[in-house]
Subunit: 407 residues, 3 copies
């Protein structure tokens, strides 16, 4: 049994996180999602193929014992799967998984219990945003309907399949969709009732928008077992679950309300306040008089002094000037909106702070408004009010600070 | 013996505090002044009448066992008293008290020791601002002189009287004053030497301007007995007197310098710094890295992170964005000035911060200058320098932040 | 043996520190440099003469048992030395020392071991900036070459000499230099090979630019012995060496990483964070939620709340508004540049904060950019981004804050 991870997508909706890493490398508890998924698959197969985009090749070289297959032709999930055709034997059954999904092991187990073609289905509160699955009374697929206005059920395509080699002949029959892609679901619809629908009730998440990463980390944090491998100075208060990795130092006067995750060699405090559902990557420094709440702070970043970071994502190697603050609540307490590609969408969250790309530098006393995204490598001038998204590499200076700033 | 509280005034000078409550409802140690006064009066009478303005009716409904009398006609204190005429028996003596005064029980006791009409007099350091009392050698009233340029003494009208039913006939003889009101003191002057002047040396304060509320709270805080009914985590330092009410939680790393009052179910810290003469209302949250000094913070307000609040009044249900700071000292260290109605007046205080109305929301990194008043329900844009008073319900955005804020 | 301290220079390069004190009065561990030097000299002589500028006379009156000589005529070090001619006996040998040097006792000892005229030489990593000494194989002076483009060696003139009375006749022979001064080194060059070059390998520093004061303090802090004469509340963490003087109070929740110096009657905390190589003067207040790193804070200054001060010099009697923050690192991590007189020079430091003159007042939420100098007595308007040097006594208001600041 082989397993194929489809990882060739661009991940634009996850920008700026994907400015510096492919989408499957987003971190869950300081560990890339794709490694987590590979570990699950390894329990069932030694033979893992990953379909990647050429421009991301370097990132994937860190993976051991997998076969990397570049998608050289066509667009879409079916075109991606086609790229592995020559690696699949005539009588092989094989798993196919979208690489940006977070799920639990039972998802795979359930699927393997079935013979022949099968598709994993899971319930969603927002079926409108997914492919909705219609099945007959014997759990055979009737049809996958993409993003229906009026979803017939809340059962959706989980993006995890088992196929026989036949799938390639069905792929050869489908045509490019209206969005210009060869869609794997079109091929699956062609197979139709010979596809078994396998329902799965465990955790499942398509990490499609930046704030999904907060939710995915929350889920895995809740399942993690408390452990402390770091060193904790006196007068540190820890309430609830705190996973503290090797080499991490928690300095005096720090107050931790779990569940929280603190990565390897991270330094916290003195006098820091870490609130529930904060995930701190390795080598991160959270200095004095900082409060961090329900946020993902990636490896090597520094929040040294006098910041409040709430409901935010701070990518790797970011440095916050002293007094940089994220706002995470609108005055009118409505759901925070975010620009995703060229569309303003609601995040569904009343509290959402900033999404800050890797290597960003902010000056002192910077204010970042709710739902703002800052592209990787951007610089934010001291004292700025960042009230709109900032481009990758942009030097953000408010116009009123551009003119000679004083008498 | 009946007691009449005159509570019909508009309280404009106390704005923005009075944007959301009648003046007699200002809180003293998280308890409305009028309830405190009613409790004192209950020790002497079961029969309390309160003359109110129609528009404030709803607020007064919370009071038990009092008779509410709406002032339907005329303006001024005498017109207000007239409203209760039909409730007073022919031979009754009765107390009359302005409802926005803070005083001690002995004020009432002293007055009751005298027969017939009597007026309470107290010494003031600023007699110019009050009705100055001239009495003869046998303590009979000669005259009350309103706000004299050259006060003949520092003995002033304390706004607490005992009258016989005769007062109503004197009221019927007076005319509307130059400011368009029927003045009770004009009627008292008509009675003249048949009014006994009773001197009172206890605490007395007319809460006329916002900062008086800080002083009144200071006085009552000094007289309160230390008690701790809340819960205090480890590594909390408390110096001096701290009154901590039921359900309040003081989190680790908090430093308290008394005297302070912390209301029911308030949460303080972790790592907060509460300095002398701070009065915190019920359900207030003072979060991490906040310093509060000589301020009144009313119920349900939140100062969650990285604020300094000094010599300020923060009304109920306010939310401060992280890093919101009040300035409380001028560079030139002169007395802070405040606009009261349309006049700029000195507060008499070298240190005075902000007066923030109820339900105000401030963005992150907001700066509020000394003596600034922010009307109830106003929103202050992140990063604003608030250098002037803000209207009730105003959305404050500095002009330089209005334009598109960056390149 | 007499000793002559040449202290008549204006110290412009050290502004704004020298806005309120002569250069030799810069503090080393809260103690004027000149007093430290006088103490060293007292071990060898009772007879100390100080050549001063008339306008600084008042400052020097605090010195006991020294002879003050005003330099009334001419400019330059030779003109300064000439001013003491009548105090020097015909057969006297005497020491001459530039008063703004920091050095160790062995510098003097070494020089006194030699007979006749002698000049102290020390090695420098930047000989270009000094007078480079050329000597023959028997350590006799060949020549002092001022600021050579291509220094023949890294041995420089340490500004410490021993002279016989002859020096005055040589001075009478020299002419005014191209920069309009009578240079002592010109006279020394005239003596030539009769001047012994004495090499000195101890600590030596010409405190020429403001940041040199940080380095000089670091050196002496490293040599100081740990002692605690102050009072330390519970829950204070002290790591490494902390010199805490009499009357100093360290409040709970404070975290100190030595080496640090905390002067007499200083108050630190609660919840302050003092990092290595911080030198705090007497009566300084460092309040809650402040982080201070590698900085010199002079006597009577107040950093009361929510500031970060890094790699900075804060002169005496400064008051920082809450939330005033110094930036100490450029986004591009290049060496911080500073304007010295009219030239922009590199400080040689990747981390350098602000140089803040005495009596400065900053408003709340002020941001000061790296390498900015603020003149004594200046006021900085709340919320300002200080992105250029501020003049002595200037009222700094950014132009965008000058206009009416809101709707």
């Amino acid at each position: 049994m082989k397993a194929v991870l489809l990882a060739a997508g661009k991940g634009e909706r996850l920008e700026p996180i994907t400015h510096t890493r492919p989408k499957p490398f987003v971190p869950i508890l300081d560990y890339p999602l794709i490694l987590r998924n590979i570990e699950i698959l390894r329990r069932y197969t030694r033979d893992i193929l990953i379909v990647i985009d050429s421009k991301h090749k370097e990132y994937y070289k860190v993976l051991d014992n997998v076969t990397l297959v570049e998608q050289l032709e066509g667009h879409g999930t079916a075109a991606a799967l086609k790229a592995v055709e020559k690696h699949i034997g005539k009588d092989d059954e094989f798993l196919v998984i979208y690489a940006d999904l977070a799920f639990e092991e039972s998802a795979i187990k359930n699927l393997l219990n079935v013979k022949g073609n099968a598709i994993l289905a899971t319930e969603s509160q927002n079926p409108k945003n997914y492919g909705v699955i219609i099945r007959d009374s014997e759990s055979n697929l009737v049809k996958i309907v993409e993003k229906p206005e009026n979803p017939p059920s809340n059962l959706i395509n989980a993006g995890i399949y088992k196929f026989t080699n036949d799938i390639f002949s069905y792929i050869s029959k489908i045509k490019v969709s209206s969005r210009g892609e060869l869609e794997l679901t079109d091929a699956v619809n062609l197979i139709g009732s010979k596809v078994k629908v396998v329902q799965y009730n465990g955790f499942w998440m398509d990490i499609g928008r930046p704030w999904d990463l907060i939710e995915a980390n929350k889920f895995f944090l809740d399942r993690e077992i408390d452990r402390n491998l770091g060193s904790i100075e006196e007068n540190v208060k820890i309430k609830g679950k705190a996973i503290i990795e090797e080499g991490a130092v928690i300095k005096s006067g720090t107050y931790i309300e779990g569940p929280v995750y603190i990565g390897k060699n991270a330094t916290i405090g003195p006098n820091a306040y870490i609130r529930p559902y904060t995930v701190i990557g390795s080598n991160v420094k959270i200095g004095a008089f900082n409060e961090i709440k329900e946020s993902v702070i990636m490896e090597n970043s520094k929040i040294p002094h006098l910041s409040y970071v709430g409901d935010s994502i701070i990518c790797e190697d970011v440095n916050f000037g002293a007094g940089t603050i994220t706002a995470n609540l609108r005055f009118d307490e409505k759901e925070v909106k975010v620009r995703i590609r060229n569309e303003i969408v609601s995040s569904g969250r009343k509290k959402l702070g900033a999404i800050v790309g890797a290597h960003v530098r902010t000056g002192i006393n910077v204010s970042i408004l709710p739902g703002v995204k800052i592209g990787a490598y951007a610089w934010i001038y001291p004292g700025s009010i960042v009230d709109r998204d900032v481009e990758k590499g942009e030097k953000f200076i408010p116009s009123y600070l551009r003119r000679s700033s004083s008498s």
